[in-house]
């Protein structure tokens, strides 16, 4: 049963990644592309955290409960892998900053061209380039 739930979780995350990739590539609206991109990033982070999880009971966070050598023995037996967590901590905040940058670019595009639809945008860009020549 546990193996079944474990594989359901992994497959659900992979399916979410595939759906968000579809959203990034196939939606014409830039805002919807950005939403799909945030879903993609968060799912990838969740997968990385899942890599370091341990399916045992009890499971502990990677923080030493007390500063003694005896505690270290049980700690190593129960604690989850700290490395993926350390990678994800930075990735979440960097992802948020990059998303803000993309959102700013989309807002600016909407102000300058009045649309966020990529099909109309490409037409308008061709017009602008043609006008300058």
């Amino acid at each position: 049963m546990i193996a079944f739930i474990w594989s359901v979780i992994i497959l659900t995350l992979i399916a979410t990644i595939m759906i968000s990739l579809y959203g990034i590539s196939r939606r014409p609206n830039l805002v919807k592309k950005l939403i799909a991109l945030t879903i993609f990033g968060d799912t990838a982070n969740l997968l990385v955290v899942l890599l370091g999880y341990r399916l045992i009971y009890p499971v502990a966070p990677p923080i030493l409960p007390s500063l003694s050598k005896e505690a270290l023995q049980t700690f190593v037996k129960t604690a989850v892998d700290p490395l993926p967590q350390a990678l994800v901590i930075t990735a979440v905040v960097i992802g948020m900053a990059v998303n803000v940058l993309i959102a700013f670019a989309i807002v600016q595009i909407h102000r300058l061209y009045g649309t966020v639809d990529t099909r109309e945008l490409s037409k308008k860009l061709i017009q602008v380039e043609g006008g300058e020549q």
Binding site: F4, Q85, A86, T90, V93, I94, A97
Partner: protein, 247 residues
């Protein structure tokens, strides 16, 4: 109804594959060798970082240079956002003036916001400053801190925030102080014969220099996002006038 069919198909595929897979994969019960090394060495051991919080030890000591470059990516993303919305001095003054009176929100929302903002500030400071002992750290605390100005902008206005003295320039100065602090503390171990970004347990606190890294990262992330949110809160009308497009 039309959307239900693909959703059912996806769910069926997931459960079917999971049923097939569940006999073949082993749920992971052990940490990898690298993770075990960090768990054993973070406080005791020969390659100790002298921090009971293993994640913080990895973040600012074992893989400190990694985090340093992540911070620089963050710096570049914020700088890119500011460059997209750049204003000269005259335009900046223009953006700070309230052009028209808008209807204010009710007293209930304003009072509740005041209380919640105070709580958010306390909680985010606690997350950041206890980062070397409990789950948390500069990145998480900074993200929590950035919610406070966002709430004020939503409940009052960006002008209320600027009237209290927190404008874009000050937020950028705070962020620069944070980044310079990180760089200086990263170079400090070199003067004592250590490696770059090595934790210095000589400091009076248990976490050594980790608490300073966390505090400066907290400042940098919180103030960086505040500057971006302040720019984002400039009314559309003012911005269109500055850009000279549309009416």
């Amino acid at each position: 109804m039309k959307k239900l069919i693909p959703i059912t198909i996806i769910i069926l595929i997931i459960f079917g594959l999971a049923y097939v897979m569940s006999g073949k994969i082993e749920p992971q019960e052990n940490v990898r060798a690298l993770g075990k090394f960090y768990l054993e060495n973070s406080y005791f051991g020969d390659y100790s970082a002298k921090s009971p919080e293993v994640v913080t030890a990895i973040l600012w000591d074992y893989r400190g240079v990694d985090t340093l470059f992540e911070t620089s990516v963050f710096f570049l993303a914020i700088i890119g956002s500011l460059t997209l919305f750049r204003l000269n001095k005259k335009q900046e003054k223009e953006a700070k003036e309230r052009i028209e009176k808008v209807e204010e929100l009710t007293l209930v929302i304003k009072t509740v916001t005041k209380v919640i903002v105070a709580m958010i500030l306390a909680v985010s400071a606690s997350i950041a400053l206890h980062g070397h002992l409990t789950p948390g750290g500069g990145f998480q605390g900074g993200s929590a801190l950035a919610v406070a100005p966002l709430l004020i902008i939503a409940a009052y206005s960006k002008y209320a925030l600027e009237k209290q003295g927190l404008d874009k320039t000050r937020a950028l100065i705070l962020r620069s102080i944070g980044l310079i602090g990180i760089a200086l503390i990263a170079l400090l171990p070199l003067t004592k014969g250590g490696f770059i970004m090595q934790n210095q347990p000589i400091f009076p606190w248990l976490g050594g220099s980790l608490i300073f890294y966390n505090f400066f990262e907290y400042l940098a992330v919180g103030a960086g996002f505040t500057a971006v949110f302040l720019l984002l809160a400039i009314p559309e009308k003012v911005f269109k006038k500055i850009l000279g497009v549309g009416e």
